[in-house]
């Protein structure tokens, strides 16, 4: 089990949903669709090991149990739809200021000095992505990152993730939009009756 590179999820069971098998190679992408409240976020949180659950996951063939909780989550980052901001300035949350990424998302590097209180929901959501990718994870679990964004910013978010995929990032992406799954050239999964299965688009 699990000598392949990238993320493998094997029979993951949380309270409301299960994901029997998922394999995302480096640079690969999977999407997960399903009705709201069906447990999509719970499955992503379970992959990141943020909630108690059953089942195993592997990164490059190494089982999750071999990692400490936080070292696993350094490699496999869960990006919530609207994550919290705790320090005063945006820059205090960024592990690195990456001008290209920020520019793609529509920010100048002076965004580091912005107060987090002034951010709009859309800005928080885009900067949340910048914050997560600055940590250079191997796997990014995106929980509806474009739900609050217009078409142009959605496209910017996709471009940032695609650029990271070329550098080997594996992405798992919760989205309601079948067109987005096609654009991302992802393996599409649908959560139906509590089980995530690969679907035909």
């Amino acid at each position: 089990m699990g000598t392949e590179a990238g993320l493998i999820v094997d029979d993951l069971r949380c309270v409301v949903a299960t994901w029997p098998r998922l394999a995302v190679p480096p640079g690969g992408c999977a999407t997960l669709a399903g009705p709201s409240g069906s447990g999509k976020s719970r499955l992503l949180r379970a992959i990141a090991d943020l909630d108690p659950h059953e089942g195993e996951a592997y990164l490059d063939g190494t089982p999750r149990a071999a990692f400490a909780g936080h070292t696993w989550r350094q490699a496999v980052i869960y990006l919530p739809a609207d994550g919290a901001w705790w320090a005063e300035r945006v820059g205090d949350h960024l592990a690195a200021i990456e001008p290209d990424t920020l520019a793609t998302l529509g920010f100048d590097t002076d965004v580091a000095d912005w107060s987090v209180r002034r951010l709009s929901t859309g800005e928080r959501s885009r900067l949340g992505l910048a914050r997560a990718v600055a940590l250079r994870p191997r796997v990014l679990l995106l929980d509806e990152p474009t739900a609050n964004l217009d078409d142009a910013t959605t496209e910017a978010v996709e471009r940032v993730v695609q650029a990271r995929r070329e550098a080997g990032l594996a992405a798992v992406w919760v989205t309601h939009d079948p067109a987005q799954a096609r654009r991302l050239e992802a393996q599409p999964f649908t959560l139906h009756d509590g089980t995530a299965r690969e679907a035909q688009l």
Binding site: L50, P52, G69, P80
Partner: protein
């Protein structure tokens, strides 16, 4: 040399009690809503202190280690229950009671034994005239510190769960993710003692010193005891709060460093 203590007559106590009743009556007339709890608390003070006076009389007459230890244990268990009762969100199961009690046991008992054996050195070291008041002061203050700190910690973690969860999701270790909450909790537990030390003698005359002076002790003797006691209380409160905050913060996370608010009621 020592002047005789002026013995209080029942009438003196009755007069002070009468003032409480006047106060309660005023509060009631003004619909201020504290009359009832004021009277109940005053009645409890009278009854509890009379009872403990009787217990101490008996204990002093039978000064064996066994009885002193039993008295100390009862005090500890009551303090543990009090810490639990003051929590807005307490830990489920044994931890709700055990956490504060363990922290107070570790700090108050060790500081009390240290003070008796190494500093005050009564003969025998567990002589109840020294051991029980010392332990009582240590436990009382440690209890306040532990109760405030743990309450602040659990409530803070609850309020800031989004921040903690986001920080965990970004790969921070549990102790970093909870750092701010833990610092606030530690501060809440320690501030009353730090303030008391800073104001001692200028704003307020500490109760024990006042008591000794009223009982006829020379002021400088009373001061030496009070300094010793305040430092010991601070040490006891500090270590107790430290232990409680550490244990409680650890308990909020499981072995996979997940935030487990389901462990709170």
């Amino acid at each position: 040399m020592t002047p005789e203590i002026i013995e209080l007559q029942p009438l003196d106590l009755a007069l002070a009690g009468g003032l409480i009743i006047v106060l309660a009556a005023l509060a009631r007339a003004g619909r201020l809503g504290v009359a009832r709890s004021l009277l109940i608390a005053a009645a409890r003070t009278v009854v509890q202190l009379l009872l403990v006076g009787l217990v101490l009389e008996t204990l002093f007459a039978n000064a064996t280690l066994y009885w002193v230890a039993l008295m100390g244990s009862v005090m500890l268990l009551v303090a543990g229950r009090e810490v639990m009762a003051r929590q807005k969100r307490r830990f489920t199961g044994f931890w709700g009671f055990g956490l504060g009690t363990a922290a107070m046991f570790l700090s108050s008992f060790s500081v009390a034994v240290l003070a008796l054996v190494a500093l005050v050195q009564p003969e025998p070291w567990y002589q109840p005239q020294y051991a029980i008041p010392l332990l009582g002061m240590l436990l009382g203050n440690t209890m306040n510190g532990v109760a405030l700190a743990v309450d602040r910690l659990t409530d803070g973690a609850w309020q800031q769960r989004d921040v903690i969860e986001t920080r965990l999701a970004l790969g921070e270790p549990w102790n970093v993710a909870v750092e701010q909450v833990r610092r606030d909790a530690m501060r809440s537990g320690m501030i009353p003692m730090i303030n008391a030390m800073a104001a001692a003698g200028i704003v307020s005359l500490p109760g024990m010193m006042t008591g000794q002076i009223l009982a006829g002790a020379p002021p400088l003797e009373a001061v030496k005891y009070q300094v010793l006691i305040m430092l010991l209380i601070t040490v006891g409160t500090g270590f107790g709060t430290l232990a409680a905050v550490w244990l409680a913060a650890r308990r909020l996370f499981d072995e996979r460093e997940r935030l487990r608010l389901d462990r709170l009621t």
